[in-house]
Amino acid sequence: PRPPLLCRKLSGLYFIEDRKEWSDLEPVPQDDGPNPVVKIAYSEKFTDVFDYFRALLKNDEKSERAFTLTAEAIELNAANYTVWHYRRVLLQALEKDLRQEMRYITAIIEEQPKNYQVWHHRRMVVEWLSDPSEELEFIADILSQDAKNYHAWQHRQWVIQEYKLWDSELEFVERLLEEDVRNNSAWNQRHFVISHTTGYSDPAILDREVQYCLCQIRKAPHNESVWNYLKGILQDRGLSSHPGLLERVLELKETQCSPYLLAFLVDSYEDALETNNTRATLNQAQEVCALLAQVKDTIRREYWLFLGRSLESKYGPTAAPQSDAASSDAADQQELS
């Protein structure tokens, strides 16, 4: 039973039934089907708002009060996609001020930045307005609170691509990497920007990126992202193809070693073996695999043992003619019991 009206007024807990402008509408209670699957007990305000929301939907009412109610429903549950749908329908039907809607969605996202619906809604409004001018700054603000917010990055990529806002993005990425060199999202964005602008085929650009990576590695050697990125930009041409890189990595191995460095080393040796299969190189690769399996990255022992076997079978004395299939190591098909 509801607290009496006076008490509600004192505490400020207004319910919709108390509001005169709603007196014509009959709220529609929650209906989970002919026989409710489970018994339900609701919190008062939630029940209130959503019962009225359902009534509006049922009548397909397109009014100001309906619009106001969507905001209340969103406040209670911003993940409810039906409410967002309805709000968009009302935005169009009532020809609402979309600039105001931008301010609204900005506030909502600031409160709840990890929710699909709010970002999708913002995208729709930006599209309707054909105005991305606030986006980069807004997203930067959200990222300043959580630099890895997946939704924020997706939205940023969409805005940049759709409206061709590439110019300052590399600078933005660098700024974020200065703040946290282990921000994988920023490394991904770096790849995104460069591949869509200059590309990596210019040797000067590629070398610039390699040097940038080496610099970051020196600062923070234990960083999965930078090594993934380095491998990613070189793998098409071949890891061992970049002049002087192997030597630099071997230098780093002495003072700033990490499992990632060692993994990169194995990949480099493997790439070298492709064009120049020598026992010496194969031994070097095997040594590193063994080091990883036994000492440096034991949690991934199975992978390093696989890699060692794979190298042996591909480049060792008893190597079969190369096939172009992915690894055929029978052990790969082993299942965990």
């Binding site: 529609v28 993940a79 749908h85 993934n228 491998k231 992978y303 965990l336």
Partner: protein, 363 residues
């Protein structure tokens, strides 16, 4: 700097055995508790919630405890004219809940309860020119929806209803330099998206288009010293990634690249011995609905929980289900009440709750 690693530490007194009965009771009682605010606010994904619950019960051989007839009737009343299915009655149809509905009915071997042709029509209409799929009429594109589309159609035996080649092309265009996949071309590789894409490629017979060694390595790199798995580099482990990562590894035949014993220990340590259910990582609080209350955790994995496998055989004890709600819903409850009080932004949320309860008790 140095060897700083983002990870958690498992305490000595953490649970180390699977408390199956607790989890079964927890699911069976879900929604019937007095204070089930979380049940209420999760209405927008009810269909998926039911699917997860039923799957867990089925895994524990307790499916008969749930009411098949009522659930079937509920699902039927969620199918809209366009053929699509909504999360609950009065909600709009969406691919996510269309999949969950078909999965539930597949569990019960009764997909005919739906108008199957209309479901197929609905899915077909969501495919875009570039092969991608929108989630619903509002046009959000995501590889999650590619997965939902083919998984649903595969269960219905109607995969040929869509342009599979184009769909494959789009998914492959989302493959990144690290071998992983994101939600759209260029998006950061993420374990949840990878699960959707490997599942998609498996269902469409295109696994050979992957670099299984490269992707397998990226996936096994998700395992941290604690044994737990994260969803992308330099993030904390979260028990939901046990599913996304392991299922992906299983699909590409590299599941043994994860240290099984360490992962198992991590998962068991996430259990709540009192209420049943799992927290996202050991040491986090489990709310009445198994939600981790930590405000800083990544809630996206909750939304990714909306993706479900197509009857994958149970991998191992690494598989886990719970009802994870975005933690901001708990905060939102506080805020909604707070909106009718003044200066509440200054009050810490715990104090606010006490304040509100005191008011209600006084009346």
């Amino acid at each position: 700097q140095g060897t700083q690693i983002k990870d958690v530490v498992i305490k000595d007194d953490a649970p180390n055995a699977l408390i199956l009965d607790k989890h079964a009771d927890y699911i069976a009682a879900y929604g019937s508790k007095k204070d089930d605010y979380e049940y209420t606010v999760s209405e927008y994904l009810r269909m998926s919630g039911i699917y997860w619950g039923l799957t867990v019960m089925d895994l524990m051989s307790q499916l008969p405890r749930m009411n098949c007839e009522e659930i079937t009737e509920f699902i039927k009343s969620c199918q809209h004219e366009c053929g699509g299915i909504s999360a609950s009655i009065g909600h709009d149809p969406h691919l996510l809940y269309t999949l969950s509905a078909v999965q539930i009915l597949s569990l019960y071997d009764n997909v005919q309860a739906l108008d199957v042709d209309k479901v197929v029509e609905y899915i077909k209409a969501l495919q875009q020119e570039d092969g991608s799929f929108a989630g619903d009429k509002w046009g959000e594109i995501d590889t999650r929806f590619s997965f939902c589309a083919v998984a649903t159609l595969a269960l219905l035996g109607k995969l040929d209803a869509i342009d599979v080649d184009k769909a494959v092309e789009f998914v492959l265009s989302c493959m990144n330099f690290d071998g992983g996949f994101g939600c759209r071309p260029g998006s950061e590789s993420h374990a949840g998206q990878i699960y959707c894409c490997t599942g998609f490629l498996s269902l469409t017979g295109q696994l050979h288009r992957l670099n299984a060694d490269l992707l397998g390595w990226w996936l096994c790199e998700r395992q941290l010293p604690s044994g737990g798995l994260n969803g992308r580099p330099e993030k904390l482990p979260d028990v939901c990634y046990s599913w996304w990562v392991l299922a992906s590894l299983k699909i590409i035949g590299r599941i043994h690249w994860i240290d099984k014993a360490k992962l198992r220990a991590f998962i068991l340590a996430c259990q709540d011995e009192e209420t049943g259910g799992f927290a996202d990582r050991p040491g986090d609080m489990v709310s009445p609905c198994g939600t981790a209350v930590r405000p800083s955790r990544v809630s996206r994995c909750c939304d990714l929980q909306l993706q479900r496998n197509v009857n994958q055989s149970p991998a191992n004890s690494g598989r886990r289900h719970n009802f994870k709600q975005p933690p901001q819903l708990s905060r939102k409850f506080e805020q909604s009440v707070a909106s009718s009080l003044t200066d509440v932004d200054q009050l810490p949320s715990a104090l606010l709750r006490v304040y509100v309860q005191a008011i209600l008790a006084f009346m």
